[in-house]
Structures are given as C-alpha cells and as structure tokens.
Symmetry: C2
Subunit: 478 residues, 2 copies
C-alpha cells in the first residue's frame, strides 16, 4: 500500500529516533544540507514555521516594551576580548575574517557568535542618564558558532535567532527582566508550540560565558532526552564594567548599568519535531503550521468536485486559516500520505459522494481520527478544530512529560530512571563533583534547578547532608 | 527660539545636502556608526521603518507566488568561482573567513555578497522535472560587500536586503518574471514609499556581474541626483549552465532552466530620507512611519489634560494607527521640534483650551499646516489624514521629479541640465565611448534606458546617426 511505502521511507521512531529525525526533516523538505559542513538551508516549508514563530514571539516582545534593532555582524576581535570569561567561552568556536576587499585586515574580525560585545560598545555611547533606562532592545539575526557535531536545526554552524539585550538602573529590575523573559519563553512554548517546559536556574558549569546567572527552559523530547529550548542570562554589572556603560542617576552619581540577555533560535523547530512527531512524520501545532488545512479533491475530474474544493478553500481562507488546495495530478492516497508526513493539522477531502451527502471527509493529524463535517458552516468548524488540536497537542505533551519524570533517591535509581527514558528529579548539594559523576556514569547533565523543596535530606549522588540542597532536573540532553 | 535651535543643529539642506543627510540620520537616531569602518547600527527608529518596508513588500512577494527560505551565509570560494563574470564582479569586495573553530580552513569561505552561487548549487539538486518549476524563492538576509566610501543606508559594508531567485522552464517566463518584479518594485515605491521612479534597462556597463540583462528602478533625490533603489536581473541560462541546473521537460529532454534575481536593500531608507526630507528633518510617508501620530499634552498638569491625551491615543490606536503618547517632562515646544525632526506625519496637541473647545490642535508634517480637529470622531479624521498625507507626498514628489527632467539635445545642453540639478533625457547610440564621456565630462552616468521614442535622430553625445538610438536617462547618482 502507498501508506506503508511512505512510512517505510522513514526510520522507525522507536528503534532509531536519530535516523527518524533526519529522515523527517529531509523528506518533509524542512531543510537541506549546505555546501559547508555543519550548515543548513532552511527550505520554504521550514522557513514558514520560523516566520510563524517570529511573528508570534515578536508580538510578545513588543507588547512587553522591547524594540528591534540591528547591529553589525563583524566584531573587531579586540572588542570580543574585553570581557574575559566571555571571550574564553566563545573564542574556540568563532569564524574569523582576515581578508576583506582584497586586503589583509589590520585587525581580524569575528563573525558574531552572539552580540553582547558589540551591543555593549554602543550602549556605552547611548546610555548617559537614568532617562535612557531601561533600554530594552532585541535583534533578529544570524550567528555563527563553529561546531564539531552538527544536526539540522539542533546544532548548526550558522543559525537564526533573536537575542534580547537590556540595560537597567537597578539589579532588581534586571533580575526581574531576566525572570520575566524566562516566563515569556515558557508561556510562548506552551501557547504557540504546544510544548510544556521546565524552567529554572542553570548550574555554574552550564552558565553562559560572562553571565552571573543563566536560566534555562528545557523541553522533553519523545525519546526522553531534554532539549534546551531557550535561555536568559543575568550579567549583573560584569559587562557594564568591562565596556564602561555608566549613567548619571537621579542622585547625581555615576553608576554602572545592570544587564540581561536572552535568546531562542531555529532550534525551536527541532524541538517541535521531536516533541510532537510520530511514525508518519511531522505533527505540527496549528499556531505554527505553514499549512493549517489541506483540501484534496477526490475524483477531481467528476463534475462539481473541483469547484467545491475551491469553494471550501476560499471559505477556510476567508476564516483566516492558512490553506493549501492540492490539485496536483498525483492520486488522493499519495497526497494523504504526503500531507500527513508534513504534519498538516486538518485534511479535508471532497469527492462526489461527499457532495451528495453535503459533507466533507476530514482527518485530524493529531489523533488521526476520521470524521465528516457538514459543508454548511465548515469554515467555523475548521477554526474551532484548530483550537481543539492546539489544546489537545499540549495536553498530550504535558501528559507524556508528567508520566516521564521520576524521583531518583540515589545513583542506582538515577541510572534506572534515565535508562527508562525519563527525566530524573534529584536532590543535589550543588557539588560540581556530583554533577561530573552524572555525566561520567550516565552521560546526563543537570538541566535546571527547580524551585521545589528537596524530597530528601541527602544528596542523590554523594549521600551527604547539606544546608543547601536543591532539587535538580537531571537528563540526557541534545 | 527652541524652533531655531533645533534647525540650527541640522546643516542647511540647500547649501550642504550631504551634511544635512548625515545630521538627519544621526540626530533622529535612525542609525549610528559601527566599530568597524563602513558598518552601521540600525537603531530602533530606523529598524522600525525597515520592518514596515519588509511587511509591505513581503506581502506583495507572497501574493505573487514567492516563498521565503534561508541559505547559508558562508560560501566556499570554489562555488563562487564557477560563474566567471560573477566572480570577477564580486571577488574584489568580498570578506573572507580563513579561520574557524580555532583552525585554518582547508578552503576559504566567502561571506555572501549576494547568494546566486549558493542558491544555484541547491537548485541544481532540487530541480529535476518540469513539475519543480517555476521555483520562486526569496530570502531576507544580511550581505557584506567591502566598500571604500560608505554612508549610512546608502552604501555600507554590511547591509540588509531581500534577494529573490527564480528558475523557469522557458526564457519567456523568466523574462516576464524579471519585468514583473521591476514593476512590483516600482508600484511598491509609489504606493508605500510615496516615491515616483524611472524604470528601464541598464547599459552593458551597469549590468550585474553574470546577468544577461539588468533592469533598474531610479529615484530622484531632492538634490537632483539619482539613487538606484532596486534592480532585477535576467540571467538567461548563464548560471544554470555554470551550476548544472537541468530539468526533464514534458518532451522528455533535459534542458537548462532560465533564471532571474532581484533585490532591494536598506538603501530604501536612505531614498526615503532624501526624497521627502526638509530643513526640519525627516518627512515620513504614513505607510512606513514608525509613529504615525504623536499625541502631546500641553499643560499636562492641568486637570483632565493627561486623561484626554490618553483617551485620544487609545482611540487612534483602536483605529489601527501607530501612536506615541509623549508624556516626558520636556516642554511641548521641545517635543514639537523633536517629532517634526523625526518626521511623524501627524501631531495632535491637547491642552485645557482645546478641551474647552472640544477640539485638538493638529499639525501635518508634509505641509506643516496647523488646524483643529473635533475630539468627536478624531480617530476617523486621523485615518483619513494618513491617506491624504500619503497621497500628497507622492503628488509632491511626482511634481518635483517631473519639473526636474529635461531633454538634452547635445553635450552643452546636457552639462547645463545636470548643473541645474536635473535629470537629462538624452538620445544615445549605445556607444560605450559616449557613456564614458558622460562620466568624464559631467560625472554622470546612464541610469536606465527608457521605453520612449527618440526625440531626435542623432546621439546627444557624438552626434552620429544610427538605426539603434535609444532614450537614456542620464544623471549624477549615489
């Protein structure tokens, strides 16, 4: 059967999740490999998801008082070098321009791996008075980080992202911004990507180079691994001291500003795929699906079928949906499989018998349920279904996640939990040696520290008592 | 007076247009200089204009069947080298990455100066059958071209743009696409930027490196110079042969595709400034103005003033306008001047006397007219004014342009026309020697060839008769 054939092209999701992912991203034409190792081409179907992510997230950023700007991509190496920890973290993975306009450059330029350094150099010029604060800018841009092991969307030499950079008059304000943005990301993941997340503080080891604190948003993939889906950083005054960003406060004294930065990337597309997909391919949440409903005429040569398919498409479009009318000359069965693989939330089939009965035959991608909808009022029903599918996908993901988190009271339990493809909650005394052991014994890491009371009075790893125990989420991660 | 003081900060538009431009872009905070020579930072007020341009243009590109995608920025130098004319044109101005991830690269990578080469390498893979055609992709991206003489927006080492790249089964189709996109750009300039343009074919000398034909859209700036505001290129099969992009046609033979590319850049922001500005600063068309209406309370401490200002702002916002309520503690006069400099189309002042009279005092930026609007129904009036200002700005620009184009029957006349800060229409026999003389004698160039019958039977430059005379637009240019 055509159905089987299609599925045959995609590796088994349970047996080889990695290959399943690669098959899906390539066969659905989300992405292709670029000519330089580790780079990706984002094809129209993948880029349309990114555009939907951008539109939804950008609106939330603007609604919370952020403005967009654009800073140069090439950064003089001396500028990068000003913040010691930052350069130490990023220097090993930068791409360097030495020649431009046919001449050797006096000073090498680094292709931005992130923009703190160049943005700080401008903030130092723009910020003079308390009246200039807070300064809350965001940039949509490409960045380059030379990575050894790469996979489309998850880790590529060049990727697209947004990076927010804010400056504030007080520590309280910048800490609040750092936490507010973490919440904004988490709300966005829930509402738009239908993806529940864990949020919390990162360990010292997992901190962003140059940050005082890093916070992360972690999402559970279907293979039980964690994917870091967004981070926010509090810099304190580290960068403002290194780049001399001072303001004259109301009390007539000069002070260094307090700063935050935060970002999400095209990695979110990888997260979507691995959080919602199934054996047939993609399952896309309606809010970001490039095509929300596909209309497929059956026996299109029969009188009235094509016209009815066009009419339905127009009605759905008029109701605000993103619609594709598929009139290509392949068979309906072939098209069903292709659009299922591409994760379109709602399929609407219309043939002579449907027309006779005054209905369309429909299929939901999230449940694969088949049902009919009356042609009369079909657009309103389709709109309602989008909400229902979006909610159902979130509920399903949440149930999956909640059933895949277990407590680990000791290292044996931790190993069992992880091998069971679950996240573990551990009690941790914050000793880096324990963190190293999680890695060494189980290839797992502390994803975030959770804001929960410890469920036992000793560290899961070393068994020591401590006054400063935290609950940490430990998982294998992308 | 405060008014005078503000104007004093900006160079005289008639005496020193270049300095006026620099003063305006910096003082209105559209832009700042980056740390690397020739780079610019697009500040929020400038970037918001770009976002409005993007939104309006992107909708037109999608409505004409184009999809967005994203291709890697770093191009292996061997890929760039495949099309001989193309590499000859761009090699002198590329930035080259030699080191990445701490290691010398086996093959240097070029930061894209434009993306034909990398996109063609993918098209070669993606296009196999006539069913894959036409392929009409667009990319919003940054590009780098190392320029010796730079000015914000007009010519910078890095700039933002969109680049469309299409592949077609026949020459007719790709020529039509090339001309359709030229028309789309010109309509966009007219409808959105309120800017009339001349469109036509470029001379051999001014062609894009690797194109068979280049078409340009030229706009007249207030100093009588021309600004190339957009170009479209027809490649014929030059790139498809160099990059081996073949398809199996319906007749079962393999054929090379026919291609076009086209782009507009952040330069359009420079065009806007120099086409509409005046001594007070920017004059922005409502369609792209970041702030369409500013509401300024006068005697804000008096009872009811602030509330009324807030109410008006809300009403204007609810009517779909981009509104700024300016409650900073500067004086109203200071604010009037600042927002005039920033080119906001409509200013709405509201003070105790206005409230008494049930009106708001308003000022249009395009005409500087002052008038009152009844508070009752003010939002509808403001929306109507946006249309009126947009139309009036276009009409004004068109009248300016039409009164600054003159025929030049010979070289003396050409010199006089150009010195009179006008564009010249010349009759040209297409001899490159004549084109060189325009440059040598008058620092002017052939901007485009117009689709008009020759107004005399000899070349304006050499006086020769020819069967192949064209009317060309000759001007000094940015």
């Amino acid at each position: 059967m055509a159905d089987k054939q299609f599925v045959k092209e995609i590796a088994d999701i349970n047996e080889n999740f990695t290959q399943w992912y690669t098959d899906v991203v390539l066969k659905t034409q989300l992405v292709d490999y670029g000519p330089v190792k580790g780079t990706m081409v984002i094809r129209p179907y993948g880029y349309a998801i990114w555009e939907n992510i951008q539109r939804e997230l950008d609106a939330r950023l603007k609604a919370t008082g952020h403005s967009n700007a654009y800073f140069p991509m090439l950064i003089p190496i001396s500028l990068l070098n000003k913040e010691a920890e930052h350069v130490e973290g990023f220097a090993p993975e930068v791409a360097v321009v030495n020649v431009a306009g046919g001449e050797q450059l006096a000073e090498p330029l680094v292709v931005r791996p992130t923009s703190e350094t160049i943005i700080c150099s401008l903030y130092s010029k723009w910020i003079n008075s308390y009246r200039d604060l807070p300064l809350k800018l965001n940039q949509w841009a490409n960045v380059v980080r030379w990575e050894k092991t790469t996979r489309p969307f998850l880790r590529t030499s060049e990727f697209l992202w947004q990076e927010g950079h804010t400056a504030h008059a007080t520590r309280e304000e910048s800490v609040k911004e750092t936490l507010d943005m973490l919440q904004l990301y988490s709300d966005f993941a829930r509402d738009v990507l239908a993806m529940p997340t864990f949020t919390g503080r990162k360990s010292e080891k997992e901190k962003f180079a140059g940050a005082e604190e890093t916070y992360g948003m972690e999402a559970m993939m279907l293979d039980g691994k964690s994917l870091q889906a967004g981070t926010t950083h509090h810099f304190g005054q580290k960068f403002s001291r290194a780049y001399d960003i001072q303001f004259l406060d109301k009390d007539s004294t000069h002070k260094y500003v307090w700063q935050s930065s935060w970002g999400v990337t095209t990695r979110l597309i990888g997260a979507l795929i691995m959080a919602h997909g199934d054996q047939r391919g993609l399952v896309l949440p309606p809010k970001v699906a490039p095509v929300q409903a596909v209309v497929i005429p059956v026996a299109a040569h029969k009188e009235g079928v094509l016209q009815q398919a066009e009419l339905i498409s127009e009605q759905l479009r008029a109701a605000g949906l993103r619609v594709q009318l598929d009139v290509r000359d392949q068979s309906p069965g072939w098209k069903f499989n292709e659009w299922e693989m591409k994760g379109v939330p709602l399929r609407v089939e219309i043939g002579p018998r449907d027309i006779e009965n005054g209905v369309a035959t429909c299929s939901r991608r999230d449940t694969c349920d088949k049902f009919t909808l009356p042609l009369n009022g079909i657009a309103q029903q389709a709109v309602r279904l989008m909400d229902e599918i979006q909610s159902n996908m979130y509920a399903k993901s949440l149930a999956f996640r909640d059933s895949h988190v277990q407590l680990a009271h000791n290292m044996d339990e931790l190993g069992a939990v992880l091998d069971n493809k679950c996240f573990a909650k551990v009690v941790w005394d914050k000793d880096p040696a324990c963190e190293a052991l999680f890695k060494e014994k189980f290839q797992a890491t502390v994803r975030v520290m959770l804001d929960e009371p410890p469920f036992q009075d000793v560290c899961t790893c070393c068994g020591n008592k401590s006054d400063d125990l935290v609950v940490a989420l430990v998982a294998r991660a992308y």
